[in-house]
């Protein structure tokens, strides 16, 4: 029952993705296939602006980097899968999402881990996302003069996701340097290289801050 409101939001998010995918010249089949196979909202939204102008290698790299949070989600539920054979573990992880991860951790506060609970919530969210994408991609779409505006909607979605990552002064320092590097790179290089340059600058800054932190402690 707890999954139903979350699934409704997932359906709406899927509709938005499906509609935006059409604005980036993906077909309804391509958008829906992305949701069926990739089934990661953050990655799918992130890839849209780069879909028709970047190499497959860059798209895979971006997917891997934006999906790093699954490391944490997996680590969080991984303890519940200890002792199970791989065949009874990894197939179910296809349905690992932020929402059923959070629901599962909440549920295990007072109860034993329930694989049907984890899987049931995950499957519901999956179908909500996929059907939402299909519905959004079939929405009557006309060549809009607001294509640039729709790009900004994607970036506003990124900003909403980013807000959840805020971690005080450390985030301010990291993100400021990242932003400056990305903006400078966009002025002199192609737009997709601004993403790479910003990310590299941010990662180097992160490692530097970590080494300072380790030296002080």
């Amino acid at each position: 029952m707890a999954s139903f409101p979350i699934a409704a939001v997932s359906f709406l998010d899927g509709c938005i993705f499906g509609f935006l995918a059409r604005s980036h010249e993906l077909t309804s089949g391509e958008a829906t296939s992305m949701s069926i196979l990739i089934t990661s909202g953050a990655a799918q939204f992130l890839l849209l602006p780069y879909w028709n102008q970047s190499s497959i290698g860059l798209l895979i790299l971006l997917t891997a980097l934006i999906s790093v949070r699954y490391l944490f989600l997996g680590a969080g539920v991984g303890v519940f899968f200890r002792g199970r054979p791989a065949i009874q573990t990894y197939p179910f992880l296809f349905f690992l999402f932020d929402e059923n991860w959070a629901l599962t951790l909440h549920q295990t506060r007072n109860n034993h881990f329930s694989l049907p609970y984890f899987l049931g919530a995950g499957v519901l969210l999956y179908f909500a996302w996929v059907t939402g994408t299909l519905a959004g991609s079939l929405f009557p779409y006309r060549e809009l003069s607001h294509h640039e505006s729709l790009n900004l909607l994607i970036h506003l979605i990124f900003a909403a996701i980013l807000a959840g990552q805020w971690n005080g002064r450390r985030s301010f320092a990291l993100w400021s340097i990242t932003a400056v590097a990305a903006i400078v790179a966009k002025e002199f290089l192609a737009v997709e290289w601004s993403l790479v340059a910003g990310t590299v600058a941010g990662l180097l800054t992160m490692l530097l801050l970590r080494s300072f932190q380790d030296q002080r402690s």
Binding site: S33, L152, L174, M206
Partner: protein
């Protein structure tokens, strides 16, 4: 859908699924992941910042104000859809009057 598109989507799907399995794989093999996880935790924020910063600078005031509003709404636990659509409507309004 062309074969090229399908193969591209399939390749990206493998990367996404691989990352889904990575956390469980790590926990099953490492006794102590506490040193690794904090480092990795900051990756998504860095990538998203690199993606959004140039776009909002290009959009000017009409883009930066909705960025702030969307971020604040999302930080206060508003849903992704609500906060981003609200910010987008604000952007359309500002663009029409600025």
């Amino acid at each position: 859908m062309s074969l090229d598109s399908f193969l591209m989507i399939a390749g990206i799907a493998v990367a996404a699924y691989g990352m889904r399995c990575s956390g469980v794989w790590l926990v099953r093999r490492m006794n102590d992941v506490s040193r690794v996880l904090p480092v990795l935790q900051e990756f998504p924020g860095i990538i998203l910042t690199a993606a959004v910063a140039p776009a909002f600078l290009d959009a000017g005031v009409a883009g930066i104000l909705p960025l702030i509003v969307t971020s604040l709404l999302a930080a206060r636990k508003s849903s992704l859809s609500f906060s981003s659509i609200f910010g987008f409507l604000l952007f359309l309004l500002l663009r029409s009057i600025l």
